[in-house]
Symmetry: C2
Subunit: 346 residues, 2 copies
């Protein structure tokens, strides 16, 4: 690590997207006259009669949830994508559009309304991973589904419209922009080195040590060198595989463990139920082989300095490119100093 | 326009970036159990003793603002970029970084703390445009400054830490990601057609009519076909020029007029001081010629359904790509139905 960079505005290169991120480590104590949000205590009701995701409740569509005891998935009542869109290819001068087919699902992580991933048992998180695996394989084998995006929006600040622990899956016929960027970089590296880009990166990070958060037999969590969000993190499997469908039983459990540990650290950072959007990036499901793809999961949490002060990706970020203040190394250090026991259980 | 697309999930192509955006026009009335923000009445104090941008006040740096009567700019006390960063080029295996030089400025639009662009007089907005012009030319001629990003974050929801009417300018040595994307598309089209991509697009939009918001002798405002944010808009000059330094006096005034009209419509939409980030995209300042570049300004406002319900660009958007519900045509229609007189002055 070039330590001079720790005090110098600089750009870091994201090897997965080919894009740069601006880092301004010198700029830490700025005054704040803007808005703050109220951090809420963790909710404690295990069942909420008005929640459309709790077992047995009726949803907006009129459908009733079964009395589920394990993670439960269903087709989103307000799906952004539909399986039966007519085929339209439109081009008129400089206007270009095409119809898109897809299936959107909601995955309830637990019947217990009060929980979140860090407060769930490892075995129960393992069940969530199994449902992701099944959905990836099943949706991926549907006609016209060429990519399956698994994600979670956690917290109202991340647009999550219901606090019941849940994530979403949007699957669709075209491969989305962010995935295409990574596909290109994985392939470029693979063609040149016949090796996974992320395997080599992981090896280098394990050696350097300074951005590693956690490691078990099968997975590593770390702050990527090119992190954009203040406490952005990545979970990378040690074994090079393409998609969640290839996880072994042992890997499923190790994956659940590392998710739990990371999200406990997150909650402990500001003693709040830490908001984030997380997502899995993996191989497309269009029947082609993607030996270069290396499954991984990322967490994009917005909080910066407290439960109420977040990083805004606004003017400069929207028109130029992402910018951050604290370095990835500093973020890793702060998370590593925290207890591994959830503050709620102390 | 293919009207079938109005009810069908589809993707639209952004000719300026080469990226796609997912449109889900069928998905409008969804229930909302999430967070809402309080819309604030317009503030009315013309001077605030605690504001570090008001004339005569002392800033965090200890510097005192002059008793300015016209738009006033100064170097940001908490600049993300510094002019004297040491030259560092770092590469170690897969880690890659380089130092970045730059100058960050704050531009106070008016001495009057209570104003915003839509409430300012056209002549006063013209003064803001003149200061942008000067800054672009002056910063752009500094050593190591190869791009000048002019932007405004308006509203606490957009991370604006002070309600005093102001914008920012971050200028730097490398050309940022978003600008590079547009540079490539402008050049590609220019090389092929020896014509400005945006001139041809503008002509097509003026003919189609359905996304046009406003037009005067020199400028047009419209909702671009590939708009991402619900009420995203663009201001495009009719004359093909590369940067703000080339504006004629008449164009400066017409530009001020169209900014005022657009932002009045915005405020009238939900009868609130409408938040947004706006920014100008124009030619780099590295001394090269960019005949292909076509100056334009964009507004990215987050509000969707009321002064308190915004569109969140979260899980799917971060991991896959942008998604919107109402179509660009619908957004234009809604803005066009509004009065051109600010609700505050009725
Ligand atoms: O400099 P400000 O207004 O405090 O900062 C605001 O705009 C910057 C540029 O878009 C962002 O990096 C910050 O996150 C945001 O809060
Ligand atoms: O489906 P939800 O949870 O209501 O919606 C949330 O996640 C979606 C996918 O990231 C976003 O498009 C919405 O803006 C956000 O509010």
């Amino acid at each position: 690590m070039n330590t001079e960079l720790n005090n110098t505005p600089h750009r870091r290169y994201n090897i997965l997207t080919g894009e740069w991120i601006l880092v301004s480590p010198h700029r830490t104590n700025r005054p704040w006259q803007g808005k703050t949000e109220n951090s809420k205590a963790l909710k404690k009701e295990t069942y909420d009669a008005t929640c459309y995701l709790c077992p047995g409740n009726t949803r907006a569509s009129g459908d009733t949830n079964p009395d589920y005891r394990e993670p439960y998935s269903f087709v989103n009542d307000f799906s952004s994508l539909l399986p039966d869109s007519p085929e339209i290819d439109f081009q008129e001068g400089l206007l270009k559009a095409e119809s898109e087919k897809g299936i959107c699902k909601v995955v309830c992580f637990s019947p217990d309304h009060s929980l979140t991933l860090p407060l769930m048992e490892v075995d129960d998180i393992t069940q969530v991973i199994k449902i992701w695996k099944n959905e990836y394989l099943e949706l991926g084998s549907e006609k016209d589904i060429n990519y399956v995006q698994i994600f979670e929006n956690k917290g109202a600040i991340m647009g999550c419209s219901n606090p019941h622990p849940h994530g979403q899956i949007w699957s669709q016929s075209s491969v989305p922009t962010e995935v295409l960027k990574k596909s290109a970089k994985f392939r470029e590296y693979w063609n040149k080195n016949k090796h996974s880009l992320l395997s080599d990166y992981l090896e280098q990070e394990l050696e350097a040590g300074e951005r590693i958060l956690d490691e078990n037999e099968h997975f590593v969590s770390l702050i990527p060198y090119w992190a954009v969000w203040p406490f952005e993190a990545m979970i990378i499997p040690k074994r090079h595989f393409q998609h969640i469908g290839q996880l072994s039983e042992a890997e499923e459990k190790a994956y659940a463990e590392i998710i739990k540990k990371l999200t406990i650290k997150y909650d402990n950072l500001f003693e709040t139920s830490f908001p984030y959007s997380s997502g899995i990036h993996q191989a497309p499901t269009n029947g082609k082989d993607y030996p270069e793809w290396h499954f991984h999961m990322s967490f994009y949490p917005p909080l910066l300095r407290s439960a109420s002060v977040k990083k805004f990706m606004v003017g400069y970020e929207m028109f130029a490119g992402p910018q951050r203040d604290i370095t990835a190394e500093e973020a890793a250090k702060r998370l590593n100093e925290l207890s591994s026991i959830h503050y709620f259980n102390k």
